[in-house]
Structure formats: C-alpha cells, structure tokens
C-alpha cells in the first residue's frame, strides 16, 4: 500500500530531479571558446563581461590579441602573415568562428541557440 508519506517523498524526489535537470541542461548565453593547437585554452562567457575586454595568447605564429564584449568577439592583431583572421571582423552569432590557420587558432561562439548543424562545407 502506498502511504501518503510515500507520495510526499516521491513528489519531493521528482521536484529535486527536475531542479537538477534544469541546472544541468538549461541554456546559457554565448560562450567564446578559444582554441589553440587543438586545445581549448579559454572559455569566456560573454554575458559576464561588463565592458570590452582584451585577451592575449601566444600562438605558433606569434601573439594574437582578441577583443570581446557582450555582443561578440574579434581578432585585433595577429602575428600571422596574411592577417585573414583580423580581416574576418567580429563574430556575433552562436556557431560562428574565426580561424587563423598559421596561428592554429580558432575563436568559436557556442551557445544554446547554436544552429543544429553537424558540419559545414565550403
């Protein structure tokens, strides 16, 4: 026989599981992922930035400087020769990235609204 207390415990457990699920799987704002040589060196939650913030990293093609704010991120300067990464401009949407091949660096915006694609060709 299920007693009233059992039901209370059951309801409590379900509530706890629900809260846990919310904590674990809730969407977040955009996160800037900085990857150098295939390794994630930093993850920056853009929503936590109070103002424009500069970040600097050593890469295989020299020092790279990144400017990030709550809206997005861009590469300000790079030690690479072609500066294609600097010319790429600012990324603002989840799923967008800037690639610096000589510097083996990727800046990627990740977040809950990321386009549900498994890959991109082109």
């Amino acid at each position: 026989m299920i007693k009233r207390l059992d039901l209370v415990i059951l309801a409590g457990a379900l509530l706890l599981a629900g809260l846990l699920g919310l904590l674990l799987f809730q969407g977040e704002g955009a996160t800037l992922v900085v990857e150098i040589n295939g390794t994630v060196v930093e993850k920056i939650s853009l929503s936590s930035l109070q103002e424009e913030t500069k970040y600097s990293y050593e890469t295989p093609s020299g020092r790279i400087e990144i400017l990030a704010d709550r809206e997005g991120a861009e590469i300000l300067s790079s030690g690479c020769e072609n500066k294609l990464c600097v010319k790429s401009g600012k990324i603002k949407k989840n799923g967008q990235s800037i690639l610096c091949l000589p510097g083996r660096t990727v800046l990627r915006l990740e977040g809950a609204e990321e386009a549900p694609l498994d890959g991109v060709t082109g």
């Binding site: 007693k3 207390l5 059992d6 415990i9 059951l10 457990a13 599981a17 990857e35 040589n37 295939g38 020769e81 072609n82 790429s88 401009g89 990324i91 949407k93 967008q96 990235s97 800037i98 690639l99 091949l101 083996r104 990727v106 386009a115 549900p116 694609l117 498994d118 890959g119 991109v120 060709t121 082109g122």
Partner: protein, 328 residues
C-alpha cells in the same frame, strides 16, 4: 520506516538508470591541424586512437610541401613505392583529367607555385606561366605501375584531393573501431552512420556572404562524403580583377566559368573532393554529366545567384531563405 527508505532508494536507482540512458553512446571528439586545415572529429560509440597523427602521416606521404613525402621524392626522379590509397587517388585524378578535357590536372604544381596563393597570391609572369604549362599533363608526367610512382617531369599538387583522402582514412578507422560519427577536414566532410545516428545535417556555405557567416542550404545525409570548391576560398585582387585559386590546367589561369561554388556528395572523400574541383572547372552542363558517370550528387551555385542541384538530392536539401534550387 525501513521499507520506506528502501522504496526511496529504489526510486533513485531507477532515476539514475533513466538519466544514464538519456546520454546514449559516449561521445568523443578530437580537434587539431593537419594538411593546412582545421580538423574536427566527433565520434560516438568508439573512437580510434591517434587519428590526428595518422592524418598527419598521410600528409607526410602526399604533400609536395614536405621534402621527404612520396610525392616530393617522385618529383626528384625517384621511383617510389606508394600506398594503395595514394595509388587509387592518383588513378581517380588521371581519370578526371581525361573526363574534363585536361582542365582538372594534379600535375599543375609548376603553375600553382607561380601564383603564390599560399602567400596571399601574385600575378605570374606570362612567359614563366607558358614555360610552366609545358611541364603539365597527367598522361606525360605520371607513370604508375604496380604501386610504384615515378614522375618523368613536373610535380604533383594533391590539394584538390588530399583533404578528401584524409576523410576516407578517418572514416575507415572509425568503422574499424566500431564507432560512427563525423569527420571534417577543412571543407571536406565524411559521415559514418551507426545505431541511432539518423541523418546528419551539413550546412553548405553561402558563397555570397563574407566570413562564412551564411548557409545557403542544409543537406541531410545518413552517410557519405561532402566537399565544396569555391572561388571565394582563396583569391587576391590585382588591377581591379579578382583572381581565385581554382586553376584551369589548359590555361594555367583561374577558371572563367559561371560558377562561384560547387558542392559534391560522393561515396568516397577522394572522389567528393576531386569532383568538386572538377565540376567547378567544367561548369553546370558538363558537370551534371560527370556526376552521372560517378553516381555522385552536386549543388552548383552560379555568380547570378542561381542554384542547380542533381535530382538525387531532391528531398535532402533544406534551402535557406532567399534561395531556390532547380533539380536537374
């Protein structure tokens, strides 16, 4: 009371099982660089070890930029024993040279070196270009017998097929390991289906949107290989004219056709990669016939914004707003 705690314990046990089952197969991912490209591997179920190292190993065999590669040694006059994968890729490329009337040709290295696209690009001197073109021609440059490669003259640039070969290698290792997933080497993608993998969604870059921010279509595929060649990838401007990196081997100059990008879907990575370049060079009409010969599918995007796809892709494409496709 004790009974009640037992019930509670059983409930949490059940909950743990339910949560654990939600996560499905374990996911693995590996990222890095090889072949001058960003490589991303996402696998489920199982992931072979050292895949990035193997791709670098392949690059060391086939890149003309690596002094001791099989291809470089052959261009210095050595008869070099090559891998079956390289032999197959060379045979495929030779066939494509024939089928494109010589416009696609991997022996174009003496010409590509004059354009300096790796360093930002520069217009070659006309005389030097003519002289370099004399060194080009698959049938006269490549000798391939029983897995031994020799190059009586010229050199090989496998840029049009190398990334696809890397996808082939990675997907084959993934299959051997019993996993499934997606491998991306630059713009070439390999897909391997597995239990519960369903269809993968691959975005095709919009060639008219700067910085790769736009997608013109999404292809849904359970398995296969996808590659794209576009005139927007590498180019430079001189005297108000834009020069892109997809060179026609009959002229030694950028292809002058109507296309801005071609995406090829094929049964192997080497084929999808080489075919995307070959289709770009021959244009839509000849390209459709070429696709039929290889049982491949393609999306052709022209400079005027029209988009043509092979009929086999009907029902697999989800066009972005503002884009229309004609199936032929």
């Amino acid at each position: 009371m004790q009974k009640r705690w037992k019930r509670l314990f059983a409930f949490f046990l059940l909950l743990s099982f339910l949560l654990a089952s939600c996560t499905g197969d374990r996911q693995y991912s590996e990222r890095g660089y090889a072949m001058g490209a960003y490589i991303s591997i996402s696998a489920w179920g199982n992931m072979p070890q050292g895949l990035l190292g193997e791709i670098t190993g392949l690059e060391n065999q086939i890149s003309h930029r690596i002094v001791d590669s099989q291809v470089s040694r052959a261009s210095r006059g050595e008869a070099v024993e090559i891998s079956a994968a390289l032999e197959n890729a060379l045979t495929l490329c030779g066939e494509l040279t024939e089928r494109t009337g010589g416009r696609f040709d991997i022996t174009l290295l003496p010409v590509t070196q004059l354009w300096h696209f790796d360093e930002g690009g520069a217009l070659p001197n006309g005389e030097a270009l003519s002289a370099a073109l004399m060194q080009v021609g698959y049938s006269q440059c490549v000798s391939l017998q029983n897995g031994v490669l020799s190059l009586p003259k010229g050199g090989l640039d496998l840029g049009a097929v190398g990334k696809g070969m890397a996808c082939d290698l990675a997907i084959s290792r993934l299959r051997e390991a019993g996993g499934h997933g997606i491998v991306s080497v630059g713009g070439s993608i390999g897909l391997l289906s597995g239990e519960g993998s369903g269809e993968y969604r691959i975005g095709v870059r919009d060639p008219f949107v700067k910085n790769g921010e736009g997608i013109l279509s999404v292809i849904s595929l359970a398995e296969g290989f996808v590659s794209t060649s576009g005139s927007y990838e590498k180019y430079f401007e001189a005297g108000g004219i834009r020069y892109h990196h997809i060179l026609d081997a009959t002229t030694g100059r950028p292809a002058q056709g109507e296309l801005v990008s071609v995406t090829a879907v094929a049964s192997s990575g080497a084929l999808s990669d080489a075919l995307s370049t070959a289709l770009f060079l021959v244009g839509v009409e000849e390209g459709l016939a070429l696709c039929a010969q290889y049982g491949a599918e393609a999306i052709f995007v022209s400079q005027d914004g029209t988009c043509v796809a092979t009929k086999g892709l009907s029902g697999k494409l989800e066009m972005a707003e503002g884009w229309e496709v004609v199936y032929r």
